[in-house]
């Protein structure tokens, strides 16, 4: 079976300093892959290189077999990659509803997402519908950006540190939401350093360190191997 998203040999650099050294991982349709690593390990850079916000120096990004490496961000998004950046980037002077509308378009994910469906799956956004997105709390903005990316019906959703800087109660809500999306069949790659949060929602784990994947395996396997955590995740 062809992987939904297959990244291989991905190299990327900021100017002269290379950050990614041949990143390689596959994501099967419907699974939630946790991409774990310390700050600066290359999680966000991997996502930016996949989404086209940073042009990779080499390697392949195959989405359902189609190579997207180096394409323009809007083409990659239309091909089916939904990217939720770490700093959320809601449109602050658009209402919640308008943020969703701007992103609405057909896509390969076949989720039939529209504004009404988004409000059904994200009921916490319903009372905020007409509020300016810039006035939402961090957790609300996080929910909104996830919903906004889904509006493009992506084949794969890249979530960059969705739990970062949020209160434990909100983190739990986001965890519930990611599980709900997985049950709906959404394919997700989740970049995180919060391993407790990650292990609660992921089906498989890939660990990144110094710009390369250093460990891959199932969630149980990861739990059973504390040396991986000690070596690559704890500060």
């Amino acid at each position: 079976m062809m992987a939904e998203l297959s990244v291989s040999g991905l190299d990327a650099a900021y100017g002269a300093s290379q950050v990614l050294f041949g990143v390689e991982f596959d994501v099967e349709r419907g699974e939630t892959l946790a991409l774990m690593g310390r700050n600066g390990a290359g999680k966000s850079t991997t996502f930016k290189a996949i989404a086209g916000l940073l042009s990779p120096r080499g390697g392949k990004v195959l989405l359902r077999g189609q190579d997207l490496a180096g394409a323009k961000p809007y083409r990659i998004a239309r091909a089916g990659v939904g990217f939720v950046p770490e700093d959320r980037q809601v449109f602050p002077e658009h209402t919640v509803e308008e943020n969703l509308e701007v992103a609405q378009k057909p896509g390969p994910g076949g989720g039939d997402w529209n504004v009404e469906r988004a409000f059904q799956v994200f009921p916490m956004l319903v009372p905020l519908r007409k509020r300016m997105a810039g006035r939402l709390s961090g957790g609300e903005q996080q929910m909104l950006t996830i919903a906004r990316s889904l509006m493009g019906n992506p084949a794969v959703l890249l979530l960059d540190e969705p739990s970062e800087g949020l209160a434990p109660l909100i983190v739990a809500q986001i965890g519930d939401l990611i599980r709900k999306l997985r049950e709906m069949g959404t394919t997700i790659v989740l970049a995180e350093q919060n391993s407790r949060f990650c292990l609660g929602v992921a089906t498989r784990v890939a660990v990144i360190d110094k710009g390369a994947i250093v460990w891959r395996g199932g969630v149980e396997q990861f739990r059973a191997d504390p040396s991986v955590q000690a070596r690559y995740l704890q500060v």
Binding site: A51, G52, L53, K72, P73, Y74, A77, R78, F83, P85, Q89, F91, P92, E93, H94, E98, E101, V102, A103, K105, G107, R148, S149, M151, G152
Partner: protein, 300 residues
């Protein structure tokens, strides 16, 4: 300076009606040009110094189309859409390469465009003052309101420009395209990551801004003289309007345009030698009180 004259005008309903109608008409024509300028600046971050030249081209296109077809509608269409096309080519081949550069570079490229297009106009249409005849349909007796004389064409102009202002405000605020444009103005990277071709959005915004300038040029061809370099004075007025209204704000541009229109119409009675100076004085006052303009955001 003749403030007594101004006071007696303000005391007479007919004089007020005449001057208000003139001020509204001038103001709304400036608004068409200034709204395009402020739209392009707000979304693309480009100060289009060649915007007045697009206005001038609109007048010439209208003149020629009217001369060959005799249809006012064809004249306005040629001015608006012809200039939209010129603007689109300008954006694609020249200006899109200087987005994000410093304003000196933008000034240089736009100034080159101004000089080239002024010369092209001189070659094609000659350097003399030209005037477009008022179509027969608009040669009607003026409308009299409270004893004040309002030329019939002013009423037409007012209706068209007011409709455009409403369409523009509605389009930017209430349509999906308008929302996308506003989002792309704030965060083009994120808009692109949501699958929207921002390059195409930017080109469309520039074409719309150009269309507005061309439309204003076409509409003013029967009442203002058409001459090479005619773009400069309207460009200066448009800049005053965008500064007073706040760079990037359509509503600010509307209020400021009307302010400038009334300053011109009432100023021509009260202080005919100082109307231009008064516009700059108003700009200076607004900048002192609110440096970002009436409707502008700080550091926008």
């Amino acid at each position: 300076m003749d403030l007594g004259e101004l006071a007696s005008c303000l005391g007479s309903a007919s004089c007020v009606v005449t001057q208000v109608s003139a001020g509204l008409t001038i103001g709304l024509l400036i608004f068409l040009v200034a709204s395009g300028l402020t739209l392009i600046f707000g979304v693309l971050g480009l100060v289009n110094f060649a915007h007045g030249t697009l206005y001038m081209l609109g007048s010439y296109f209208a003149l020629t189309a009217y001369g060959t077809t005799g249809s006012f509608l064809a004249a306005v269409g040629a001015g608006a859409f012809g200039v939209a096309l010129v603007g689109l080519l300008m954006e694609r081949f020249l200006l899109s390469r200087i987005y994000g550069t410093d304003v000196l570079m933008q000034l240089l490229v736009c100034y080159a465009i101004i000089l080239i297009l002024d010369d092209v106009v001189k070659i094609v249409w000659g350097g003399d003052f030209l005037k477009m005849d008022l179509p027969d349909a608009f040669r009607r007796p003026p409308v009299i309101i409270a004893g004040g004389i309002v030329p019939y064409y002013y009423v037409i102009l007012f209706a068209i420009t007011a409709a455009i202002a409403v369409i523009l405000a509605w389009g930017m605020g209430r349509t999906r395209f308008g929302r996308t444009v506003r989002a792309a103005a704030v965060n083009p990277g994120m808009v692109g990551a949501l699958g929207i071709n921002t390059t195409a959005v930017f080109a469309a915004v520039f074409a719309i801004g150009s269309l507005l300038a061309g439309l204003a040029g076409a509409l003013s061809a029967p009442i203002r003289s058409v001459v090479p370099g005619a773009g400069v004075s309207i460009l200066i007025e448009s800049f005053i309007v965008t500064v007073i209204g706040g760079m990037g704000s359509i509503w600010g541009a509307l209020i400021a345009s009307l302010l400038i229109g009334f300053t011109r119409s009432f100023g021509s009675i009260g202080f005919p030698l100082f109307t231009e100076g008064m516009m700059f004085l108003m700009m200076a006052l607004v900048l002192l009180v609110k440096p970002s303009g009436l409707a502008g955001k700080p550091h926008a």
